[in-house]
């Protein structure tokens, strides 16, 4: 018993109690990985593959288009080229079910590969977000998946005081691509979309698309939009980056310096070498950041400039080398508590707890006099146990958690009351003090168990239901009840025995 208390006290002082977000301030986010994005991306990629292969194998006149996130179809497949298509299918499209319908070939993603893609998307999102937040340098963060196969992630960031920036940082898909600019020929953009269309005679070629980008002033403020006609084919993507760091450009403006992997460098070198004089669009999440002219062959490193602010450059480097998110993110739940509210909550919780404890102790002392000391001691030990358990389990103390402790003070007395009332009854029935104490404890035990098991059941369901603060409440309540049973049944008993064994004959008991 003494050992248990000692361990609890030791744990309390060595480990300190973890304060929950609602008490110390910080941010809680529940977000959903839009796994359909990843499915769509895979569908697009495989569809492009088919289109490319058909072109390479000289099968003309086939139109390919996506019909849903997990399906696409090819129309106009010449009947005599069936086996060529079959070969492409077997070679590159193994995760797909397909059926023919006249000259139409319908591809549907297999359930299993869809599930795999979703799973990978969530796992990769989890890793990417973890990397980003680690780099952001916030301590004691918690990032976890909510349940085994869910698309939800829970992020807890204690002490964060710039929530908007964190939200942007996490959500940034950061899909970086480099593509050649087809028009205007020397890079640079046009402020008018129609001019671009006119250049192509009103209809864009199949391999070209128009993307927007911001124009900015010297300070990095957005002033308008520009449009660029770029090739659909990507020269390299963010995956080919080895590293990205914030740096300073030739006009002392913030830029991102990047280095490429060996393979990425080869691809980049080939493309830039063959297209000197043309524009190269740097595209982030579908928007053109800048489109400088290629002056010479570039192989292993480069610069992204785009009139950024210094903070943007830092965040961009962070997201670039933490990797791209495989899918979009939606914030389902967000709770940010500033430090001042947390401090208020701690103060109020402590005040309420102090008053509650004081009143309860007075009530016990009035009702049970000498034996009341016993109950109060049991109560104190119970509190120490709660804090010790919280500290050693690393569980966070939340505001509802404090409420749980205050409530436990009230409820914990119940077990002592049950015992004391029994002892009183036995004394009134004319038993000796020792016999009364003995049978009091014995006969109260079933009621103590019955009563506390009821509250335990409630606390267990609460734990299962709650997240964050409410879970903190369930935890303190749960520990408090276990502590109650322990102190009432063992500690209090032990104290009675200690006092009673000191005297030879006990005539009276202050109760």
């Amino acid at each position: 018993m003494v050992a248990a208390v000692a361990i609890a006290v030791a744990a309390y002082f060595t480990n300190r109690i973890n304060l929950g977000l609602d008490l110390r301030g910080g941010m809680y986010l529940a977000l959903k990985v839009e796994t359909n994005d990843a499915l769509r991306a895979t569908t697009d990629k495989d569809m492009e593959r088919l289109r490319q292969e058909l072109v390479d194998q000289k099968v003309p006149g086939v139109a390919v288009q996506r019909t849903s996130d997990t399906a696409f179809e090819a129309t106009g497949v010449p009947l005599d080229k069936g086996d060529v298509v079959g070969q492409i299918r077997d070679k590159f499209l193994s995760g797909w079910d397909w059926k023919t319908d006249g000259d139409r070939l319908v591809f549907t993603m297999q359930e299993r590969s869809a599930a795999d893609i979703r799973e990978q998307a969530v796992e990769q999102a989890l890793r990417t977000i973890r990397n980003r937040i680690d780099e952001f340098g916030v301590g004691e963060t918690q990032i976890q998946r909510q349940g085994l196969s869910s698309d939800r992630l829970l992020v807890q960031l204690p002490g964060v005081d710039d929530p908007e920036r964190v939200k942007r940082l996490i959500k940034n898909t950061a899909f970086l691509e480099f593509r050649l600019v087809d028009f205007p020929p020397n890079g640079g953009g046009l402020s008018n979309k129609d001019e671009i269309l006119q250049h192509y005679g009103g209809k864009l070629p199949a391999n070209i698309e128009v993307l927007p980008g911001d124009t900015r002033d010297r300070e990095g403020r957005v002033t308008g939009e520009m449009y660029y006609a770029v090739e659909k084919r990507r020269v390299i993507t963010g995956r080919d980056l080895k590293d990205a760091r914030p740096g300073v450009g030739q006009f002392n403006d913030p830029v991102v310096n990047f280095t490429l992997t060996f393979e990425g460098g080869k691809l980049f070198g080939d493309a830039t070498g063959a297209n000197v004089g043309k524009g190269l669009a740097i595209i982030l999440d579908g928007r053109v950041v800048s489109a400088p002219r290629i002056n010479s062959r570039i192989t292993d490193s480069g610069v992204i400039e785009g009139r950024f602010t210094r903070k943007e450059v830092e965040d961009l480097s962070t997201v670039l080398h933490s990797g791209a998110l495989p899918a979009g993110i939606t914030y389902l739940e967000e709770r940010t508590v500033g430090p001042s509210l947390g401090a208020d909550s701690i103060r109020q919780g402590l005040q309420a707890g102090g008053l509650g404890a004081l009143l309860v102790i007075i009530a016990i002392m009035v009702m049970y006099r000498g034996s009341g000391i016993n109950a109060v001691l049991a109560l104190v030990i119970n509190l120490v146990l709660i804090f010790g358990a919280l500290a050693s389990a690393g569980a966070a103390l939340t505001l509802p958690g404090i409420a749980g402790i205050v409530l436990t003070i009230g409820i914990a007395v119940d077990a002592n009351v049950l015992v004391f009332e029994r002892i009183k009854e036995e004394l009134r029935a004319g038993r000796t003090v020792k016999a009364a104490v003995d049978s009091g404890f014995q006969r109260a035990l079933p009621s103590i168990l019955d009563a506390n098991i009821c509250t335990l059941i409630a606390a267990a369901f609460l734990f299962q239901f709650g997240t964050g603060p409410v879970r903190g409440f369930a935890v303190t309540l749960f520990i408090g009840i276990i502590g109650t049973i322990f102190t009432a049944v063992f500690v209090s008993r032990w104290m009675f025995d200690l006092v009673l064994s000191r005297r030879e004959r006990v005539e009276t008991l202050s109760i």
Partner: protein
Amino acid sequence: MNLYNTHIDFMKYRKFWVWVSLALVVVGLVSIVAPFRVNLGIDFAGGTQLVLKFPAAPEVDRLRHLVESTGVRDAQIQRYGKEGENSVIVKTSTLAGSEEGSGTKVVAALNAAFNAGATGADLNQLGSESIASLLARLDPDHVAAQGDVAAQQHYAPAAVQVMQARKQYGLLTSWDQIHGLSPTVLEALKKNARLGSFAVLSVENVGPQAGAELRRKGLLAVGWALLGMLIYIGIRFQLPYGVGATMATIHDVLVTVGLYTLAGFEWNLTTIAAFLTLIGYSTNDTVVTFDRVRENLRKTKGEPLIEVLNRSINQTLSRTLLTGGTVFLAAGSLLLLGGEVLRGFAFIITVGVIIGTYSSVYVASPFALLWVNYFSKRKAAQKPAGAPKTVKPKTATPKPVEPVKPQPVSGKGGKSRAAGNRR
């Protein structure tokens, strides 16, 4: 206080109190069914909620107008905390048709209105890292030569000082509130930054999806907890007492729901926590009385049940009141001092304890009695009515009422204990 050897005839007025309870339950039910009375918080309804602090008491109407001018619907604005704190809580819907919160939009609108024309960084809104970056750019200590990272590090402690002041005051209204800054740094901040005229103390957003999910989970948790109690009671007690205890618990929940709703409190996650706790406490209270009933029934076979109930209630009265009292004191302290966040929670427990104590006496026991009597009357041909059937274990009884067992009312748990008690 003499709570011992009381001989109050609790059961005498049971009919009156049963009607009172029924009336209260009906109030509770009506309050939930009438949807306009239930104040669903953002946890369950979805929405955005901000706590804002101003230097002086803000005009609520102006705020509402401002918030709604951004196109955000259903703005509700209430005072938050004590009067002198000049804080308000702003509740709005999420951005139309999305999971995303409207917090950013609302703050932007407030900035346009309250900090109009002001230039320089707002120390009441910047994060600590941004403050450090700002100082690194202003560079009052001339450390830029050491490089960006070093400069940022150099000014980080100053930023922490500003945040400390914000932690203490919530809203900075005077430069004197910030301590521990070197004169040069303070001078640079005074020149290039400002103390804006409001602070955002907290932002919470729950999207419609998450709200619906929390709603579902909350109801499920309460349902499962009730079921759990039912099963436990079913194992420990025989049917009439199980019914009585369950009725008492449901009674307590419904009555408290009614009072909670009528008092205009908001339903949120802690509300569910409070009700689950109440379910546990209320059952616990009843169970202790029934434990005593079981014990007494064993001791005194042949006594009418109504007498046994009365005696058991009297015997446990001091415990019932004392435990109720201590929980009441603890919960009352929370209600008094626990602050805004815990108020609803504390209300439920405080009121629930009173209701729960009452119901152990006047709902649980009368129901058990009613049940026993009702089924005895159905067999009135064989037995005199009113007597608890438990004293006649040999008669054939309808199945659900009394599993044929030698021991009168005790369930499975009772048997082993009976043996122990005889020692």
